[in-house]
């Protein structure tokens, strides 16, 4: 399994290197073919990885046999099910005792496998959607795309803090170039803002990480950068609350910007509007998930008290504001791409809300939402890109009634919009529902407010669909360079190939969400065990003895109330 992982890191990286090395001699066609074959190969590798994970790890888990590879203890909140470690550096004290070690540590669990598969899938779609759109310096473009993919996969399989941080920052560089070179008219400003804003945030994260590592190393943990070891150690020796909160806040800084959580979101619409379609797809589809993934991997397992005291009330509140605020901003956008960008702010709000519900339902919902948002928003950006490629505009004022001209694109748009607004039966619903349900257990007020965002979600997206695709046909006049009218054609085979897998997955995950949930279930269970996951506390109150004790499993409650009857 680890071999597959290495291959899926190496293949995109090697393709990128090849593209850069031979950038002089490769023309557009050959560089995009190379990029396509590299990304498709990576996709297959990650699918193999997924399949193998299911057979090697999940099957034995179901039958009760512990997986062979598991270094961390049973109670650990982070438990890689497959791993590779290689020691880089050992620091010994004068007596020869090892005080600290640095290692290369790759590990996989269900969450990372799922996110890696999402990344590789979206990369293939990104390559396909750039096929015609990118003609200028194509090989550099695809190289940047593949480096980005490598970085993203790297983040999701790093089990070591240093590696995690390096990959985390590595993703900035290719995306910076993607926006700054191949972006829209205002690309310089967007790229610089994107880069500086996220960098500023993640430098605070870095300082927090350094302080944390120094603290635990001094306290005696010999592998202070290994995530599982760190989580274990912190679970066994909980930090004082004030310290937890400081670390939590420092680490959150970078992630809050990355997600982005209100009010740190203003870089996002700008970056999306200026980025080329492929950049937007990967930015919304995967890059934003680095933020939520950071919370999931670092904050949640390591600082449970801080999450309860600060995370739930504060980040929960910010997420709720983000959901409503993002929806409102989306509602009055005239630029579809900006509208989708603001919808991302709202959707990531649901995701954060789920994670910080701090219970099984919520965290599962949050993780599902990560994948689902990647699929549906990725697909939405693909469609927006297709429209832009045809009309060179994204403004709702310029286009209308396109369903007549582009029936297949219109169908896809309606379908994906439905998935994005959380129609049950498509992927968005289950994640959203679980996030909200989880939050409802932790804080009903937040959940109710956030649910109102669901209504707004339907409103802004369907308004955009109505304006762009329904009504009387209205399209900007287009002439090609020879003065002949531009022929507008519907979805072609290449675009279909880019879009169809995403749409199919939207449907599949809506009808069979269990196939994704069972993948991440053991990891979420391990994490939420930290928060003493209690089943919903039924309000059935015992008339004799007062309140039913909290954390009574449901069947007991039933029998309890039966006892009430007996007592009567």
């Amino acid at each position: 399994m680890i071999a597959l992982l290495f291959l899926s890191l190496a293949v995109p990286f090697a393709s990128a290197v090849l593209l850069m090395l031979f950038r002089g001699s490769l023309n557009q066609t050959s560089s995009r073919l190379l990029a396509l074959s590299g990304s498709v190969a990576t996709l297959f590798l990650s699918l193999l990885l997924l399949a193998q994970y299911k057979t090697v790890v999940l099957k034995p888990l179901e039958t009760g046999n512990r997986p062979a590879v598991s270094s961390a203890s049973e109670a650990s909140a982070i438990r890689p099910r497959a791993e590779f470690r290689h020691e880089w550096l050992k620091i010994t004290d004068s007596s020869g005792k090892v005080t600290a070690r640095l290692e290369m540590y790759f590990g996989l669990d269900g969450i990372s496998v799922a996110l890696i598969a999402l990344t590789t899938l979206l990369t293939v779609s990104s390559v396909l959607i750039s096929w015609e759109a990118i003609s200028d310096r194509a090989s550099e473009f695809y190289a940047a795309l593949l480096i980005l993919e490598t970085g993203l996969i790297g983040v999701f399989c790093s089990m070591d803090l240093v590696m995690f941080y390096v990959f985390f920052e590595l993703t900035l560089i290719p995306l910076f170039f993607l926006i700054a070179i191949w972006g829209g008219p205002d690309r310089r400003k967007a790229a610089v803002r994107f880069f500086l804003y996220t960098l500023a945030g993640s430098l605070i994260t870095l300082s927090g990480l350094v302080a944390l590592v120094a603290w635990v190393a001094r306290a005696g943990l010999t592998s202070p950068t290994s995530l599982p070891a760190l989580a274990d150690w912190l679970a066994a020796n909980p930090l004082p609350q004030a310290l937890q909160i400081s670390f939590f806040l420092a680490l959150s800084a970078g992630f809050l910007v990355k997600v982005p959580v209100f009010p740190f979101h203003t870089w996002l619409p700008l970056a999306h509007v200026e980025a080329p379609t492929a950049g937007s797809v990967l930015l919304a589809g995967v890059l934003l998930k680095l933020g939520t993934y950071g919370f999931l991997r670092l904050c949640l397992p390591m600082f449970p008290d801080a999450c309860r005291v600060v995370g739930l009330p504060m980040i929960g509140l910010l997420s709720v504001i983000g959901i409503l605020y993002g929806s409102f901003c989306a509602l009055s956008q005239r630029d579809i791409k900006k509208l989708v960008a603001y919808s991302s702010v709202a959707h990531l709000g649901f995701c954060m809300l789920g994670l910080f519900a701090l219970n099984t339902e919520g965290i599962t919902g949050g993780v599902l939402q990560m994948v689902n948002h990647g699929l549906s928003t990725g697909a939405l950006f693909l469609i927006v890109g297709m429209i832009y490629e045809r009309y060179h505009t994204r403004m709702l004022d310029d286009i209308g009634g396109l369903a007549k001209r582009l029936p297949l694109i219109a169908c896809s748009m309606v379908f994906i919009s439905m998935s994005s607004i959380g129609l049950p039966g498509l992927n968005g619903f289950v994640g959203e529902f679980l996030s909200l349900a989880g939050m409802f257990r932790s804080s009903p007020v937040y959940a109710v407010l956030a649910t109102a965002g669901v209504v707004l979600g339907a409103w802004y997206l369907l308004t955009a669909v109505q304006l762009a695709f329904f009504g009387t046909l209205r399209e900007p006049h287009q002439d090609d360079s020879h003065g002949h009218p531009h022929v507008i054609t519907d979805l072609n085979a290449r675009e279909f190939t880019a879009l169809a897998p995403l749409a199919a997955l939207c449907l599949w995950l809506g009808v069979f969400p269990a196939s994704l949930i069972e993948l991440i279930e053991p990891d979420v269970a391990a994490l939420s065990a930290l928060y003493q996951d209690a089943p919903p506390v039924p309000v059935a109150v015992n008339p004799v003895s007062g309140l039913v004790p909290a954390a009574v499993p449901v069947p007991q409650v039933l029998s309890l109330s039966q006892r009430i009857i007996v007592a009567d």
């Binding site: 605020y325 599962t364 409802f440 109505q466 009504g471 949930i517 309000v539 109150v541 109330s561 009857i565």
Partner: protein, 679 residues
């Protein structure tokens, strides 16, 4: 019948339309084209037959105690404080077809299983039967529409969703298909998407429904938290738990019921969320018949009836339901009085009749012994209404078809001779809706008036229900009046066609005439067949939360009054629109403000626009400005800090060799001075 066969039959009911939807969607544009109705017809026929088998074969056969799946429940409910004291709990026959586990997270386990009891079976028969007839009519009506395959794919998907909705065994599964029905209505209302009005109506229907869904989903969260489960069986079956919660925390049950009812208000177009329904007439007419008669709008009524065990414990909410129903019924009826668009008259009458159903459901507040009668009356009206309203819509569609898509009643009249089939079938539907004695609408409306009448004897809420009674009676009168106003305006008077119709309008072709005929027979006879014979009530009352009551005869008094109301209403319409057609115009002129209010639909759309849409739009615009100038402004300001800090140091790196030299000279001198002074 073996269990496997039973399960197969149960599964066939929703799966057949689903398959048809898939086949039509895939093969429709290519291979099928104008044969796209065939899969739909076949599938709906299969579903209908299976529903009938379910109703007549399976459910009676499982009612023998040994196969009852919910035996424990039954004994429990007998043990609990029985809803109607002294009546033994009846056997609750139900069939469950195992599906798959949708997901299982934490304590939340949601399965996709089908569950059918007698209420489900009745709903299924009605839904699939009416849909089959509508789809037959539709193949004639939609003939040569370029979207022909799309129409039948969406109709099949719609029937699938609706069947799954009533077959759902848990709140979450119900919600899933509740939303799916919303999606299909979006697709069907917006069928002619090139028409801006249709596109706007589709969106409006979906979004307004979502407002209701907001309540429903909160209700589901609350149920999950309160009962630890979402399955009907565990929530309603655990009567002990239900009563325990009701005793200790009645507010929570009220809240749950209120939330659920908010969902029902959206779907079943109750005030103030009824704004979407009249606009939805922008869809093709068969769609109106499908959505606004037999299926989608009944979902809310079904939900409330299904949750009777919960609503019984929340009399406050029941009063609220009753009041909402009354307000809706009255407003919609008053609006219908002055509409000139035939389909809109019918749309408002649908809203009004749904109000009637909710009025009936709310009567349970008067006392637990009334609950069964109340739910039965509401569901019975839902049942009969489905037939005659589908008939009326289809007949209106037939008129529209003949008149070249003109539906404004001022532009045609006297169609009696030109469209005989349409005329007679419309008359049958109108008479049934007006409550002409012995027709189906008569029996069900009579049941509702009777149950409201009984509720007025309640000690606690007597006055409230007396008001309701008055509103209901007046609304019934108005119903008879506006229905026959539409009838007389369309079919009587001098013969007049709009120019779009050509000179010789054609009556319904056979494929349209047959469904009209069958529905007309149902509209006339189904009430008599199932109402006074206690067939409907007897079947329905075998579900959870209801108790079988013995037939308490016919309410002769109420029947006399409601017959009188119907006849007076029809007579008034005849007088005003046939005998002296000048009067309505002068009445309208004489009571201009009232006329304007009614004709302007109580300005509810405008009010909605000003109170909800406009402020939210403004808020959205404000949010964008806030985002650009405040939040981004702060970000920019923070970004300025390093630059501001660099002002001074920047002077030092100006690139001028002279200034470097100057600095160097000064520094060297200073250094020398310092060094020298130290020693």
């Amino acid at each position: 019948m073996s269990e496997t066969t039973q399960q197969l039959i149960l599964w066939l009911i929703p799966v057949a339309p689903l398959l048809s939807a898939l086949i039509t969607a895939l093969a429709g544009p290519g291979a099928l084209r104008y044969k796209s109705h065939l899969p739909c017809w076949t599938a709906l026929a299969v579903s209908f037959v299976c529903s009938l088998i379910l109703l007549f074969q399976i459910l009676p056969s499982v009612s023998q105690p040994r196969t009852v799946a919910s035996e424990t429940t039954t004994s429990e409910s007998a043990e609990s404080v029985a809803i109607a004291p002294g009546v033994t709990a009846a056997v609750r026959p139900q069939v469950i077809a195992v599906g798959y586990e949708w997901f299982q997270v934490g304590t939340l386990n949601v399965r996709m299983d089908l569950r059918a009891d007698s209420m489900t079976a009745i709903m299924l028969c009605m839904v699939t039967g009416v849909s089959l007839l509508v789809s037959m009519f539709g193949s004639g009506y939609m003939h040569h529409d370029p979207g022909y395959p799309r129409f039948f794919a969406a109709v099949s998907l719609f029937v699938f969703s609706m069947c799954m909705l009533v077959l759902a065994g848990s709140f979450l599964m119900l919600f899933v298909f509740w939303e799916a029905v919303g999606l299909c209505s979006y697709l069907l209302i917006g069928f002619w998407f090139q028409k801006p009005a249709a596109a706007a109506a589709a969106k409006k229907a979906f979004v307004v429904n979502r407002i209701g869904d907001f309540g429903l989903i909160i209700g589901i969260f609350l149920i999950w938290q309160t009962f630890g489960s979402l399955s009907f069986e565990e929530v309603f079956g655990g009567t002990a738990l239900l009563n325990a919660v009701a005793e200790t925390d009645p507010g929570r049950i009220q809240l749950i019921c209120l939330c659920l009812f908010l969902g029902a208000m959206g779907k079943s177009a109750q005030f103030p969320l009824q704004v979407w329904l009249p606009d939805a007439m922008e869809g093709p007419t068969p769609v109106s018949a499908l959505i606004h008669a037999a299926t989608m709008v009944t979902a809310g009524v079904y939900l409330v009836a299904r949750c009777t065990p919960l609503f019984v414990l929340a009399p406050g909410v029941q009063l609220f339901i009753c009041a909402t129903g009354a307000i809706t019924a009255a407003i919609a009826a008053l609006t219908a009085l002055t509409q000139t668009d035939l389909k809109r008259v019918l749309a408002y009458s649908t809203v009004s009749q749904l109000g009637f159903m909710f009025m009936a459901l709310g009567c349970g507040a008067a006392g637990p012994e009334l609950v069964t009668a109340a739910v039965t009356a509401g569901m019975f009206h839902l049942f009969t209404h489905a037939y005659f309203k589908a008939l009326l819509f289809l007949a209106a569609g037939s008129v529209m078809h003949a008149m070249g898509d003109v539906i404004d009643m001022r532009r045609f009249s006297g169609l009696k001779k030109a469209l005989p089939i349409t005329h007679w079938t419309f008359l049958a539907g109108a008479a049934a809706l007006a409550g002409v004695p012995l027709l189906s609408g008569f029996w069900s409306k009579d049941d509702i008036l009777a149950v409201i009448g009984e509720a007025t004897h309640s000690a606690q809420y007597g006055t409230f229900f007396r008001v309701i009674q008055i509103v209901a009676s007046i609304t019934a009168l108005l119903t008879a009046f506006y229905t026959f106003r539409a009838y007389f305006m369309t079919f009587w008077g001098e013969e007049k066609f709009p120019e779009e119709a050509g000179h010789h309008p054609h009556d319904a072709s056979p494929v349209m005439a047959w469904p009209l005929g069958i529905l007309a027979v149902c509209a006339v006879g189904i009430g008599l067949l199932t109402g006074p014979t206690h067939l409907f009530a007897g079947t329905l009352q075998r579900i959870q939360g209801l108790t079988a009551v013995e037939t308490h005869g016919l309410h002769w008094g109420v029947m006399a009054v409601s017959s009188g109301i119907a006849i007076v209403g029809i007579g008034a319409a005849w007088f005003l629109y046939v005998l002296s057609p000048g009067i309505p115009a002068s009445l309208a002129a004489g009571m201009k403000p009232l006329y304007l209010i009614s004709n302007g639909k109580f300005f509810l759309d405008e009010i909605f626009q000003w109170i909800v849409v406009f402020p939210l739009r403004k808020l959205a615009a404000l949010a964008v400005l806030f985002d650009r100038f405040v939040i981004d402004g702060i970000v920019d300001a923070v970004g300025m800090v390093p630059r501001a800090l660099s002002v001074l140091p920047r002077q030092l790196h100006g690139g001028l060799v002279e200034s470097y030299a100057g600095v160097m000279w000064v520094s060297v001198v200073a250094a020398v001075v310092v060094v020298l002074s130290l020693f």
